[in-house]
């Protein structure tokens, strides 16, 4: 993955600071190849959301700042962009916690995603039908108020709304949070379908390591603001450490990668 043109997103050694004092990320580097799904894995507070918000430039609204490093999207640096410009460039973030417009109907929610595009009424209806073909469930509920739909449906609304902006790249922040296993599978099926049929590149932040890796091409594991491990999804799924720490196939009381690394360096020294 050395060719710059083949990567739609290229993050190099970024450091993010909140409120000028709290260091949330140090030296995070990651790449998303065009048309691929990349998983960003880690526990609560590891820095997944921060990484995504750094990319979508939504950090500013939370008093966060990229203080070092660079982020290139489709060959252009994103420093000077704001969220609505990023959407214009084809990068849309689906925020953690779904964040539907509760008082709007399902359909109004989805249409609002096309705000940045100049579409006629007819074009919008055409786009809507296309979106509904991926989210059949939403078509049935198009007239309901979004706040009264289920958690899974709300997640679908959030993804459908983002798709309405015709993104080249989607940033999904914990799309399966708090959903039943069946719905998790359904959401991932849709995401996979969008990736394959629409050619959308996806950066996916997840805690659900197993299913995330099974649906991705490549993965990064971050802990306390640092990338600890990266590799193809397959290699990560078969990695003993990942199995032990993230897939719950554990032996002893080790808690995270830092402990593993410490242990290994101790072993080396004693050898």
């Amino acid at each position: 993955m050395s060719d710059n043109l083949s990567n739609i997103l290229d993050i190099k050694d970024i450091e993010v600071v909140y409120d000028n004092v709290i260091l949330a990320l140090h030296n995070v580097s990651l790449k998303v190849p065009k048309g691929k799904v990349v998983a960003l894995l880690g526990a609560n507070g590891a820095g997944k959301s921060t990484t995504l918000k750094a990319v979508s430039t939504m950090l500013a609204s939370e008093r966060g700042k990229v203080t070092k490093g660079s982020i290139n999207y489709n060959g252009t640096p994103i420093e000077k962009q704001n969220p609505s410009q990023m959407v214009g460039l084809g990068m849309v973030q689906v925020l953690e916690g779904r964040r539907c417009f509760g008082h709007l109907t399902v359909e109004e929610n989805i249409i609002s995603g096309a705000y940045s595009r100049k579409l006629s009424k007819g074009d919008i209806n055409q786009e809507l039908e296309k979106i509904y073909s991926y989210f059949l469930r939403l078509k049935e509920r198009r007239k309901s108020q979004a706040a009264f739909t289920s958690g899974g449906e709300q997640q679908m609304i959030a993804v459908a709304r983002a798709m309405m902006a015709k993104p080249k790249m989607l940033l999904l922040d914990e799309p399966t949070m708090g959903l039943a296993p069946q719905l998790v599978a359904e959401i991932f099926n849709i995401v996979k379908e969008l990736n394959q049929k629409e050619g959308v590149s996806i950066l996916l932040a997840e805690q659900n390591t197993n299913i995330a890796l099974k649906n991705s091409d490549y993965g990064y594991i971050i802990e306390t603001g640092k990338v600890m491990l990266e590799g193809t999804a397959e290699s990560l799924l078969n990695n003993d450490k990942v199995k032990e720490l993230y897939l719950g196939i554990s032996k002893k009381g080790r808690k995270n990668f830092r402990d593993v690394l410490k242990e290994e360096s101790l072993n080396k020294r004693s050898n």
Binding site: R63, V87, R99, G113, A165
Partner: protein, 302 residues
């Protein structure tokens, strides 16, 4: 008996129509509350500022009525533009309380600017509509109803229909409702917050101008218009802060009850209960229906 009924009808209709004058003021608050979840304390100052400028254009520069109105409306758009650029954008990530305090400051700035530019004396505003009973209605229905009240009612009706259509059926209206629900999510899908804010503040400014014209024609264009905005508070509590129909109905309820209470119960209190009765009503609403009649309920799935 018939006379008493007629008298009651007259009090009621007069009250309802006077209530629409409150509704017009309340409308401006609702617009801004919907978009930024902030009570705009400068709304009263905007009423004063806009109508004083309108009078100034007409009386000091001899600009004809319609042109002066358009100029004043444009001036309010400029005020909206400056407010967005100089006050709201720097406070984009500040808490709602901070923005609330900023609107109080903005109010003082507008009051000061208006008086510095146009002077402090009370001005008369003649809309060509008299504040006296319409003879035709007085003759045929035996009700004494002011022409100005009827005009205010019509204007309020036109504005509510216009705003309703704007919100429900236009793209920018959809954007505004989205921002009202979740500004963060709205910006994540590319709805530019600054355009929405600019629209809302300009619309609130024009609504303030219309409300100012009605009140100015009745009570003279003077500093007291600023405090009028306080009358909108019970209207908003009853109607709901985020509902445009609520602002209208709330105004009607306040207008009718205060007149009826004044006429029938007022004498027992030595009169002048008009001034405080709406606030008592508002307290009851706060206790039993805090979101108001039409306010958006806080929807929570369980």
């Amino acid at each position: 008996m018939i006379d008493e009924l007629l008298f009651f009808m007259e009090v009621l209709v007069g009250g309802l129509l006077a209530g629409t004058m409150y509704s017009l003021v309340a409308l401006g608050f609702v617009l801004i509350f919907k978009a930024s979840a902030t009570f705009n304390f400068s709304q009263g100052a905007m009423v004063f500022f806009s109508v004083l400028a309108f009078c100034g254009f007409m009386q000091d520069f001899n600009i004809p009525f319609v042109l002066a109105f358009i100029l004043a409306a444009l001036l309010m758009v400029v005020v909206g533009l400056c407010t967005e650029r100089l006050v709201l954008r720097p406070l984009m990530n500040a808490s709602e309380d901070t923005v609330l305090m900023a609107t109080i400051g903005l109010g003082y700035v507008l009051e000061g600017l208006a008086q510095a530019a146009w002077g402090v004396e009370v001005r008369r505003l003649d809309l060509g509509i008299g504040d006296f009973p319409v003879p035709w209605i007085a003759d045929n229905l035996k009700l004494f109803i002011s022409a100005l009240d009827i005009t205010a009612g019509l204007v309020a009706a036109i504005m509510i229909i216009g705003l309703f259509l704007l919100f429900k059926y236009t793209k920018i209206g959809l954007g505004l409702r989205a921002v009202a629900d979740d500004a963060g999510a709205a910006s994540s899908i590319g709805i530019p917050l600054k355009h929405i804010m600019l629209l809302v503040w300009s619309a609130a400014g024009v609504v303030a101008l219309v409300a100012g014209c009605m009140w100015g024609a009745r009570a003279g264009v003077q500093f007291a218009l600023v405090d009028l905005a306080l009358k909108a508070l019970p209207v908003l509590i009853i109607g709901g802060f985020s509902s445009i129909p609520g602002a209208i109905i709330g105004g009607l309820i306040i207008g009718a009850t205060e007149k009826i209470l004044e006429v029938y119960i007022g004498p027992y209190f030595g009169g002048a209960i008009e001034g405080w009765a709406p606030y008592v009503l508002a307290i009851f609403f706060l206790l039993y229906r805090p979101e108001g009649l039409f306010g958006e309920k806080i929807i929570r799935r369980v």
